[in-house]
């Protein structure tokens, strides 16, 4: 199961990244990368602090609640759940830190909420794409605005 997912996901991500880096401005690139790394942080770069705090908090709290439901054992880079691991890629630093700090935990007993926890964390990481798109929208608006004008 792991190899087909990697064969499809990795080239797709590379092509999308190549297109992104060749067709966007520096502000848009910085905004999207920051938004990917820390949910909501991209909005700070374009002056939308309140929006960034609310959206970032929604994503991070949902992600952490999912970890809590599954006893902090649901985040792992491809060894437990390849499909959820692809979703977790979009969680940026949150996913990376979660995987790092829970790497020594193993599933030892049955948890009825484990799958729901996986769903929560996976969906939260995927929702970060929408948050990043929203931040990109503001950055794009700023990039197109004449000098001196801002989106806010």
């Amino acid at each position: 199961m792991q190899n087909p997912i990697l064969i499809i996901a990795v080239p797709l991500v590379l092509v999308m990244a190549l297109r992104f880096f060749t067709t966007t401005t520096a502000l848009e690139r910085r905004t999207v990368i920051l938004a990917w790394l820390i949910p909501g942080a991209g909005h700070f770069l374009v002056g939308q602090r309140k929006r960034g705090i609310i959206l970032g908090a929604l994503v991070i709290v949902t992600f952490l609640f999912g970890m809590f439901l599954s006893d902090f054992r649901n985040i792992s880079p491809f060894d437990r759940h390849p499909i959820w691991a692809v979703a977790h890629l979009f969680g940026g630093l949150v996913s990376m830190l979660a995987a790092f700090f829970t790497r020594h935990l193993y599933i030892e007993e049955m948890n009825p909420f484990y799958d729901v926890g996986c769903l929560y964390s996976g969906v939260a990481a995927l929702l970060n794409i929408i948050v990043a798109v929203d931040a990109y929208d503001f950055a794009h608006e700023r990039s197109e605005a004449p000098a001196g004008e801002t989106a806010e």
């Binding site: 309140k50 929006r51 949902t62």
Partner: protein
């Protein structure tokens, strides 16, 4: 996991998804909340309605 647990775990996730998916393209947060809540209510209604429908359909299929 009981039906009530499933339902109460589904609702907050559905609310978060509804609010965040309403965000792009909307500037006013009041409008985002309004649209998000509307989407949440509509989605919840259809999920519950479909679940009830599938329940009775399966009950009928199993009784054949």
């Amino acid at each position: 996991m009981t039906l009530w647990q499933s339902l109460f775990l589904f609702l907050p996730l559905c609310l978060v998804i509804s609010i965040i998916t309403c965000t792009p393209g909307r500037r006013d947060f009041r409008e985002i909340w309004k649209q998000g809540l509307r989407l949440f209510l509509v989605t919840t209604f259809w999920v519950v309605a479909a679940s009830i429908g599938i329940y009775f359909l399966m009950e009928w299929v199993l009784s054949l």
